[in-house]
């Protein structure tokens, strides 16, 4: 009895297992048979279904395309989403950007260096960059009948921005304004409201980029102008219920991190009347989901990693590229804290060593990396080499020699790299284990390829004998590490948004004053410290003469370039995959390249 039950107990039925086994065979065999059935038969599989269900809709009613046209965008959710504009970082406001306008803006064709008027039709700046006069557009309607846009709305916007310690640009704005709010500035007599459409500000300290940066679309939360009349009536609840702005689209509904819906304003917009009367933005964290949404006709414009583009193109979708690169990927060899010397360990971290040694080590690290391979394989050719971190052809200070000399100075040459390390005094054991470095690997929204780049860079460093370990970290932890000037035994691939030189110099290279209590510098993030960069940054803040600004930024750029301060990798153009039967044209934005100018999208006919 016992024996029988034991045997029976261990017997299990074969049918379910057989089903699993068969599925395996089918899965593997499915592709094995593919060569016999080329493109024509291969098509029906996934996409045909998608196409079949998607196709009828747009073709069935071409006549009313204009009225019913919905631009449905599916994008990666940003790490942060909020109803309150002042709490949003420059990324966090993106899903709601279509309804806001700013005092100034930029165009994707000319890039961030050319600042264009938007709600401010013009502005004057004093030669020492300490006094501004803004002239605002007249006759601009606020949504939902909240009256006309005036200077009051600007004051409300900035006041909200400076009221919360969590707000994005609070400290910088209050510092140059010399007051805790615009209202206080007026009370102090530093700001004159001349009429409903003109105001003058006298700044506490010179700030050259108030119009270019702080009031620009690039930092939307700072100056996404909202209705003061509505705020007076509804308070902060307005942001959840349906805020009024001035953009070509007005608010319909929104669920944080899920959807935001907009409709074209019912009146003649002062700037542009969108062809798509409805706009829906869905966020979904899974790349596969967004691609599937496009293929099944649920969405007509999605952002997906480049590795998935080919799949979409095979199904007849089209990839739109921004005219200029929107983000770059650069690798920062950490710990070059030559000024503050907090946790500065040139002995164990030779890439931070002063003088020639450090320079040679960093050149070797640069030379170990095969940028062509990264660009062609990881970015599918949708990128171009970055020649110098934070600089670009479209920005001030550009030096053409960086591009011309790039192959000679930064080109892929592992043998030379090994030689350089030998000469620099790191022969290791027969060219192995020269020194240790950790390569931090973290996924960044907007540039999923960072993970693979980190992997590749670690391998390239291993190839020249550096003991490089790949360490997966949350980006927030890396942020902790360099904010707090922890031990800098790592190098970090970061996404470098292409911004004006001022803004990026502040984040990347400005050390700032040292906080006695913390014992470390407080200026921004300052990945790399150098007296020259501090001096240039401070001079740039008050310099308005373009030639002098060019000279200063180029001087800084030359120094960074010639000393191999960073490991620049690639500049990437923003891409969106669209259904060409529904969307004909799209005007890219700037920061992430995605949301800037949705109102200019054109309906396919």
């Amino acid at each position: 009895m016992a024996v029988r039950s034991v045997r029976n107990a261990s017997r299990i039925g074969a049918v379910p297992l057989l089903i699993v086994f068969l599925s395996v065979v089918v899965a593997c065999g499915g592709t094995a048979s593919e060569p016999a059935a080329p493109a024509a038969t291969q098509a029906p599989a996934a996409p045909a279904q998608a196409a079949a269900t998607a196709a009828p809709e747009p073709t069935a009613m071409p006549a009313m395309a204009d009225e019913a046209a919905v631009l449905h965008l599916a994008v990666t959710p940003l790490p942060q989403d909020t109803y309150l504009p002042w709490l949003a970082t420059s990324g966090g406001h993106l899903p709601i950007r279509p309804m806001w306008e700013n005092l100034t803006t930029i165009s994707p064709e000319t890039g961030v260096s050319t600042v264009l008027p938007q709600l401010a039709k013009a502005w004057d700046i004093s030669p020492d960059a300490s006094e501004y006069t803004f002239y605002l557009q007249e006759g601009v309607q606020m949504h939902h009948g909240w009256g006309e846009f005036t200077v009051k709305d600007v004051i409300l916007t900035i006041d909200q921005q400076t009221s919360d310690p969590l707000a994005g640009c609070r400290s910088a704005v209050t510092r140059f304004m010399g007051a805790d709010s615009m209202t206080e500035m007026i009370a102090n007599g530093d700001m004159d409201v001349i009429d409903d459409y003109t105001f003058t500000m006298r700044l506490a300290e010179p700030q050259v980029d108030v119009a270019d940066w702080w009031f620009n679309i690039l930092v939307v939360p700072c100056a996404a102008v909202r209705s003061s009349a509505q705020h007076a009536a509804e308070g902060d609840a307005m942001f959840e219920n349906g805020p009024a702005g001035t953009g070509a689209y007005q608010f319909v509904s929104r669920e944080l991190k899920e959807t935001a819906e907009f409709e074209a304003v019912p009146y003649e917009h002062w700037r542009v009347n969108p062809e798509f009367k409805n706009l829906k933005i869905t966020t979904s964290p899974e790349d596969l989901t967004r691609l599937a949404m496009l293929l099944t006709g649920e969405a007509n414009m999605v952002d997906v990693p480049k590795v998935l583009h080919q799949q979409a193109v095979d199904e007849g979708m089209e990839v739109f590229e921004s005219p200029l690169p929107s983000v770059g990927l650069t690798i920062l060899p950490f710990g070059q804290y030559h000024l503050s010397q907090v946790n500065w360990n040139p002995d164990t971290e030779p890439w931070t060593a002063p003088g020639e040694t450090g320079r040679m080590v960093r050149e070797a690290m640069n030379r170990a990396i095969n940028r062509d391979q990264i660009i062609n394989e990881l970015f599918k050719g949708l990128g171009e080499p970055m020649y110098n971190t934070i600089f670009h052809q479209s920005l001030e200070g550009w030096n053409p020699r960086w591009e011309e000399e790039f192959n000679d100075k930064y080109g892929y040459d592992p043998e030379l790299a090994k030689q350089l390390l030998d000469e620099a005094g790191f022969p290791g054991d027969n060219g192995q284990n020269r020194f240790r470095v950790e390569v931090y690997q973290s996924s960044l929204p907007g540039l999923p390829e960072t993970i693979e780049v980190a992997q590749t860079v670690a391998q390239s460093l291993q190839d020249i004998g550096i003991a490089a370990d790949l360490v997966e970290v949350e980006f927030a932890r890396a942020l902790d590490a360099f904010r707090g000037r922890h031990d800098a035994h790592f190098i970090l691939p970061v996404r470098q948004t292409i911004r004006q030189i001022n803004a990026n110099a502040r984040i990347y290279y400005y050390t700032g004053p040292t906080d006695p209590e913390l014992g470390r510098p407080t200026g921004g993030v300052a990945y790399i410290e150098d007296q020259l960069y501090d001096d240039v940054y401070e001079a740039l803040l008050k310099e308005t003469d373009p030639d002098e600004r060019h000279r200063l930024t180029q001087m800084m750029g030359d120094h960074i370039y010639d000393n191999y301060r960073t490991i620049p990798i690639v500049n990437v153009r923003a891409t969106l995959v669209v259904n060409p039967e529904e969307v004909a044209e799209y005007k890219f934005g700037s920061l992430t390249g995605v949301f800037g100018h949705l109102e200019y999208a054109k309906v396919a006919r």
Partner: protein, 366 residues
Amino acid sequence: MAITTAPVPASPVSEEAAVRPGALGKIRHWIAEVRRLPLFPVTMLLVFLIVPALFSELIAPHNPRRGDLDDRLVPPAWSGDVVSTRTVVERVNRENRQNEIKLSDAERTVRIGDATVAGKAAGEAPALGDQIQIVVKPGGQGKYLLGTDKNGMDIFSRIVHGARLALVVSMMAIFVSGLIGTVLGILAGYYGGWVDTLVMRLVDMSLSISLILVALVLAATLGPRIENVLIVVCLFLWSRYARLIRGETLALKTQDFISRAKVAGSSEIRIMLRHIFPNLVNTIIVLATLQLGFVILLEAGLSFLGAGIPRPNPAWGVMVADGRELIIDSWWVSFFPGLAILFTVLSVNLLGDWLRDRLDPKQRNV
């Protein structure tokens, strides 16, 4: 159901003790034991877990932590190239998309070497109206049996090395939690009273906390690390041992041979170690085997969520996660690692079930 004085009947230890047949007999006895093992799960276990884990270096043809970017997403060795000829046009007609390609796309694919233009030298830019030969999907390569992932790492090698990782992590977790659980369980069962109450309340609490949520918190605070997996598994698994062992100890305590040992003046520690523990070995082995599958699944799940074993370690869960977005085009990236998990856990579970019926039929519902 009554437990006899002689420890659990079918255990190899007891038979051996009873027969004492000398070295040859011993070997013969073990062969008999091995022959009694269920063929299917044991073979599967050997093939999918034990052999790859022990001989990873010999079996795996590539370094599991390095990839070649030139060989990204290579399909399994048996798939062939899918090539298509397309006409370069200004605007692709969607109905005709299998035969046409947009000029800018054509230029790019030629530039990165995925396509050649008919009648032009390699690398020469295509013009409107040209015919281009485009490799829609490159075929497999002999050196990558199960294909490669998006880093160009060999999936087969990663699965093989992943077996070692899975085995080591789960064995460690089970050993540590088994040790804690057994000690606490025996103490609780033997002493009763407040020790029992304390241990059992701890057990209840540990069973009432959601594993995965705590793992997520750990991952958020400490980052993904192997230690996290161990901590999480141990924190919770010990209680399952403790509860079971306590029950068994309670039953054993009333047996005659324990009372006799007490009368004979054995110390309490000796009683627990020499008289109670040996009678629990079968129970522990069965439970450990039954938990092994659960732990492997849990570890894979945590790794999948990014709360387990960090990259570039070849953890099966991470491999499945990495292939998720690629499932349309490159199904092999998550398919094979998942299959490895399925077969391993299945074989462990089958073996555990068999062991339970054979060694410890009491544990029906564990």
